[in-house]
């Protein structure tokens, strides 16, 4: 219940945060909403020597119309997403998925940037951004770069962010009127998904899987099957292709594969694919 001691750096700007990361290297962790990191620290499963608090960078808290995309500041909280009128119009799936993260208290504090940067395969928002074909913007000492969501998740709790990079913005395409579905399968409302499936149909169909491997995954076999004219049911049969789900208290590997197929079919049907 009591984290190990650490040094605390409060960043007054993105540049300060990036500089602090550069200074402290691997010893430092970024703190945004804290709802991924602090629970680990309370159990001493994470013991960073330095916390760089970016929670006050209000200039990174926004949901903006950016032409054919929606631009979302990394410090935007889940509660901002779940109540956004702009998202309701232009990207209702993201709004809905944000509403299913954790519980209201978590959504009041947790941020989309924190959720994506933590890169937890069991998280809801990474899969949503993957299915939408989003883009992430990272800022480092040498300026900004864009990273496709499909390139972002590199390993278990690992992302393409360099040690001295800060995720600043998430961009998702405007998809008004697109069919979509998010199937979250869990045992209690507040829990992580045992398996989840995000599907969005906007010309082609994007499908992403939650908790089916070490990273959030794009269900490429399903997408290909659909592109090749397969029915939703046929395509869904390929949902677990290329996945490496783990076994835990809630599911065996085999059950996860089964759930992925069932939930993908339901998602595709609901999305009208």
């Amino acid at each position: 219940m009591i984290p190990a001691k650490f040094d605390y750096v409060r960043a007054g700007s993105a540049a300060e945060a990036i500089a602090a990361l550069g200074e402290h290297g691997d010893e430092a962790k970024l703190l945004a909403g804290g709802h991924s990191l602090l629970p680990l620290m309370k159990l001493r499963l994470a013991t960073p020597a330095v916390l760089v608090d970016v929670g006050r960078l209000d200039d990174l808290r926004y949901i903006r119309d950016a032409g054919d995309q929606i631009a979302i500041g990394a410090l935007t909280r889940h509660h901002d997403l779940e109540t956004s009128d702009l998202l309701a119009e232009q990207c209702p799936m993201l709004r809905h998925v944000a509403h299913l993260v954790g519980d209201p208290q978590v959504r009041h504090r947790g941020t989309i940037g924190g959720s994506l940067a933590h890169a937890d395969p069991a998280s809801d928002l990474p899969a949503a951004v993957l299915a939408l074909g989003g883009t992430l913007v990272a800022r480092g000492p040498d300026g900004e770069r864009e990273i496709a969501a499909t390139e972002f998740f590199t390993g278990f709790l690992e992302s393409a962010l360099a040690g001295d990079e800060l995720l600043t913005e998430i961009r998702v395409p405007k998809v008004p009127g697109a069919g979509w579905s998010y199937q979250k399968f869990n045992r209690r409302a507040q829990d992580w998904a045992i398996v989840g499936v995000a599907a969005v149909r906007n010309g082609t169909t994007g499908v992403a899987l939650v908790n089916m491997g070490t990273t959030p995954l794009r269900a490429t076999a399903v997408e290909e099957a659909l592109a090749g004219g397969a029915s939703a049911a046929e395509a869904a049969e390929r949902a677990d292709e290329g996945t490496e789900p783990t076994a835990d208290l809630n599911a065996s590997e085999e059950y996860r594969r089964h759930l992925a197929r069932v939930l993908t079919r339901r998602a595709l049907e609901e999305a009208g694919a």
Partner: protein, 154 residues
């Protein structure tokens, strides 16, 4: 590290270790022990307080993160000896037994109605998904929150 916050309308300023959780700060430094601790994984919601008007789990916020914020705890709800309408609704509908989850549950319910003044039963249940109670089976808690919403509307 210095932390300055307003708790239930009173300004507080203290020196704390950065690792001090907001809940420990409120209980042990400010001395307001109404906010309880029921778990160590941000699951149970017993420590729920309002941070700048929104419900948060004070076990998952560092005191230093709350620097400059307005905090309302269970002690700040009743005024002039009168229970807050949510507290009164919990009493009228027997929405508590051992009372340990109650401060957090009441604060979560206050925040819920602030965001959704006329919730359905299902919305109340979902809105309290982050607060665990082991005594009541939730039946009377849900009734109390619905009654508080109705009372506020009438």
């Amino acid at each position: 590290m210095k932390v300055a916050v307003t708790v239930n309308g009173t300004k507080q300023e203290h020196e704390v270790e950065p690792r001090t959780l907001l809940v420990h700060y409120l209980r042990e430094v400010v001395g307001l022990t109404g906010t309880n601790i029921g778990c160590d994984t941000s699951s149970c919601g017993a420590c729920t307080v309002l941070l700048d008007g929104q419900s948060v789990k004070s076990c998952t916020v560092l005191a230093v993160q709350a620097d400059g914020a307005e905090i309302t705890t269970i002690e700040g709800l009743a005024s002039d000896g009168q229970l807050h309408p949510m507290q009164e609704a919990f009493r009228q509908h027997h929405g508590l037994q051992c009372g340990y989850c109650t401060p957090g549950m009441v604060m979560a319910a206050v925040s819920l109605l602030d965001e959704n003044p006329a919730p359905t039963e299902a919305e109340v249940r979902e809105g309290l998904e982050g607060n665990l109670c082991r005594c009541t089976g939730y039946h009377n808690i849900v009734k109390a929150v619905l009654a508080a919403a109705e009372g506020a509307a009438s």
